[in-house]
């Protein structure tokens, strides 16, 4: 915009301020309520705690086995992220550097799996996992491995798409020179492409981690008491006869910190990745 008049600047201030309130009020409620004593959240709502207390942050671990859920979520989201990034790097390298029959079909197929509702393959996948377990003894249903397998495919399409954009922006001469020097294609990938694409890979990893950390539908069906993740575990507070809302808010805050911190630190890369995709 060039030379915006004062009226535009004022509209802008008001609109952005209102939006900031709408966006931040829930976050504020989360923070302030997590520091309230129990009686504050059992009566009418109050903006400011009557007294500040950090007790909820200690109690959350006892009310439900939050520690166990936390470890499960870390294993599942971490596992899904590592596998998804590795697989996406290989696939994106193939799509970006080679022209082959079915290249377009692959991209379209992979991206189109993204659009279908989770509920559509939840039921069959549930049955497939149960039946694989019954016939081969490989327990996918209820296991963290089954969940890792499922989640990594959720972030895979977008990760591949974003990495292809990144790899395309790395000059071909770099890895072709390595190939001419007698480097194998895998070494060219590991030694030339991957180091040059670190920002893109980091962004993709954050996206994959967020996807797995936040998924609810499959977690609610595919886990049992031992493998329950935070997505389902957090509901444990709400099903108690008396909901300790201060604890719920404290727990919500604690489970949000890892992903929010990662996202805010790395959002620049995500924007860059999206821009690379949007140009195409």
């Amino acid at each position: 915009m060039i030379n915006p008049p004062a009226s535009f600047r004022w509209t802008r201030r008001i609109v952005l301020a209102l939006l900031a309130v709408f966006t931040l009020v829930p976050v504020g409620v989360m923070v302030s309520s997590s520091l309230k004593p129990l009686q504050d959240v059992q009566g009418p709502f109050r903006w400011i705690p009557s007294t500040l207390t950090v007790r909820p942050y200690f109690d959350i671990w006892k009310t439900v086995p939050l520690g166990k859920y936390f470890i499960n979520s870390i294993i599942v989201a971490g596992g899904a992220t590592v596998c998804s990034v590795l697989i996406a790097i290989l696939a994106a390298y193939g799509v970006s550097r080679y022209r082959f029959r079915g290249r377009r079909l692959f991209t379209v197929t992979v991206l189109s799996t993204q659009m279908f509702p989770g509920i559509l393959f939840l039921l069959p996948l549930f049955l497939i996992f149960v039946n694989i377990g019954n016939s081969t003894g490989v327990a996918l249903y209820g296991s963290r491995g089954g969940l890792i397998l499922t989640y990594l495919t959720f972030s895979l399409p977008f990760s591949i798409w974003m990495l292809v954009g990144y790899f395309d922006s790395i000059p071909r001469d770099l890895d072709e020179a390595a190939l001419v020097d007698g480097c194998g294609p895998v070494r060219a990938l590991v030694q030339i492409i991957v180091p040059a694409a670190v920002p893109g890979i980091v962004a993709v990893a954050v996206y994959a981690f967020m996807t797995a950390w936040g998924e609810v539908l499959f977690a609610s069906v595919m886990t049992n008491d031992e493998t329950r993740t935070l997505a389902v575990g957090l509901q444990g507070y709400a099903t108690l006869n008396d909901v300790y809302w201060n604890q719920v808010m404290a727990a919500s805050l604690v489970v949000s910190v890892p992903v929010v911190a990662g996202f805010l630190l790395l959002q620049r890369y995500l924007v860059a990745g999206l821009t690379a995709g949007a140009v195409k």
Partner: protein
């Protein structure tokens, strides 16, 4: 160029396929095979007695589909209700998210003090895990202890009594608000990325010709964002129409009739009654509907783009 192609041909022919193999196998296992299985299941009388060995369930032909679309019977009626609720919800939520996202992205195009901080704040709803964010909203919507009624009733005296937000007809409003809160930052993020591709010279030229702010937005910004918007609206539509997480965390396992989104409806039909056959038939109908909408959308937008050129 020819030399480059020739050099690439030196590599083994199967290599690209080998690189794609892991991704392809996993997509097949988790998405495509289950989809085919799901279509098969929809033709079977798959109730709780056959879970352990689903292949032994008897075929019923179109029985499950008849059950789902018999709009005079309870099952069909509630499915139809859920469909209309989902349509209304999607139109409202996508429209508002897009509007808010576009407004914010355009208003934050020029640098000003605190822009980086504000952008980070705007992206928070997108970064927060859905269950943590939505559970906070469900606290805010509590009738007696929530913030919403405190502001509306106790502080502004707008309502004569404290309304319920999570049951009854108000739940629809609550659902739309939470959904817009969660998805407008994605629109904002995508459009911010799109805006970075508009060369500044365009605006300078327009300003020299005497175009004001609104004209610059209408003549330059919005047309340049068109390709991004085409994808964005489609993605928002698919996400919102299929949204399961928001209603599931907001209302728990039984959604009120006024906000019975289709994903929740199918989930309940399947896992509460364990009638997987009927649930699969509904899923297939949903898939057909989404395919229809998506192809009509892509067809009309690509035709219009052709006409523009």
């Amino acid at each position: 160029m020819r030399q480059r192609l020739g050099r690439l041909r030196l590599t083994p022919k199967g290599l690209p396929y080998l690189l794609l193999l892991p991704a392809l196998l996993l997509e097949l296992l988790i998405h495509l095979v289950p989809m085919v299985v799901g279509i098969a299941m929809s033709f079977k009388q798959l109730t709780q007695f056959f879970i352990r060995d689903w292949s032994s369930a008897p075929w019923t032909g179109l029985g499950n589909y008849h059950l789902a679309v018999d709009f005079s019977a309870p099952v069909g009626q509630s499915l139809l209700n859920s469909f209309w609720v989902t349509c209304a919800f999607t139109i409202l939520a996508v429209g508002l998210s897009w509007l808010v996202g576009t407004t914010a992205a355009i208003m934050m195009q020029d640098a000003f003090r605190g822009r980086g901080l504000l952008r980070a704040a705007f992206l928070l709803p997108y970064a927060l895990p859905v269950y943590a964010a939505v559970i906070t909203w469900s606290f805010m919507f509590q009738r007696d202890t929530g913030l919403v009624n405190h502001v509306l009733h106790d502080q502004l005296h707008l309502t004569s009594d404290r309304p319920f937000w999570l049951i009854g007809d108000n739940s629809f409003t609550a659902l739309v608000v939470v959904s817009v809160w969660r998805s407008w930052p994605f629109a904002f993020l995508t459009l911010t990325a799109g805006l970075q591709n508009i060369p500044r010279e365009l605006y300078e030229a327009a300003a020299m010709d005497g175009a004001g702010v609104w004209q610059q937005i209408r003549r330059i910004t919005l047309p340049s964002l068109r390709p991004v918007n085409l994808v964005l609206v489609l993605v928002l539509f698919l996400w919102t129409f299929n949204d399961f997480n928001t209603p599931y965390v907001l209302f728990g396992k039984s959604a009120p009739e006024a906000s019975d989104l289709i994903s929740i409806h199918i989930y309940q039909s399947s896992f509460v009654t364990w009638n997987f056959g009927a649930g699969s038939a509904m899923s297939v109908l949903l898939l057909l509907f989404l395919l229809l909408v998506t192809s009509v959308y892509l067809f009309t937008t690509s035709r219009r783009r052709g006409a523009d050129d």
